[in-house]
Symmetry: C2
Subunit: 157 residues, 2 copies
């Protein structure tokens, strides 16, 4: 047995932090965030706007509030984000048919191609980042993470 403080280098000296799932989740998430930037950041597309495009594509005509809810984004913050996407020509605001307060969101053709291009480059980057994962490990990972997401708690009201 050697002295305990000999080699702190390998997996760092994080202390109790190293045993907490939350910390590792945070770091891993930031790794993917940086990679997102390398993949599509050059086009000025950020994570949240990309997520919004994806949701709208999956449910054309979705209400602004519903889109935000699916992504855990507050209505107040959606406004600015949708403004951006409209000004960028990726999204059209349309009046909802049955509710004059609401706004229905649809992708423009440009928005659709932007989403497709970004998705292609993004999956490519993810494959690279997860190169040493087997398909089974990758599914396992997504499965475990989804179970965590399911435990999300409402903000107490």
């Amino acid at each position: 047995m050697q002295d305990a403080e000999v080699e702190p280098g390998r997996h760092d000296a994080l202390g109790v932090l190293d045993g907490l799932v939350g910390y590792h989740l945070r770091r891993a998430s930031s790794v993917f965030a940086s990679d997102f930037g390398r993949a599509v950041g050059g086009d000025g597309l950020r994570q949240v706007p990309f997520a919004i495009l994806s949701v709208i594509a999956a449910s054309p005509g979705i209400r602004q509030g519903a889109a935000g809810e699916a992504l855990g984004i507050k209505r107040a913050n959606m406004v600015v984000l949708i403004n951006e996407l409209v000004e960028a020509g990726h999204v059209d605001r349309r009046a909802a048919e049955d509710d004059r307060r609401a706004i229905a969101l649809v992708l423009t053709p440009k928005g659709r191609t932007t989403l497709e291009n970004a998705t292609a480059r993004l999956t490519e980057h993810e494959d690279e980042l997860l190169a040493d994962f087997t398909a089974g490990e990758r599914d396992m990972l997504i499965g475990l993470i989804r179970r965590i997401e399911a435990r999300e708690q409402p903000p107490a009201d």
Copy 2:
């Protein structure tokens, strides 16, 4: 086989987003972040400062820069964070012995108890959040996430 768009409710209609590991990582990380707030947020302790306390406890006398590096925090941002911790009486700045530019960080007794209390409440909360995970699944999860962290890329310089 039913129509594909029948029930978007259950696991949401996220579109391509649902297949991307990065997105799920982000959401799961935010679930833990909220839980962190519920666990120790009342004491005004945030994730990053807590992480710093943990690193200092693991390596007393560590340089400010080295502590930041272990956590992926830029030196510029460490200044404010350490200021906070010093003002809160959790950390002492000491002059490094061998380098008059550097600063050696140590926990105060108050900092140590704060760290211990937070750690206790935190692991408690994590156990709750991961209640339906077996020990094996939990280890599996941490293992997979750590492999992602290892793929972190330097900021190009």
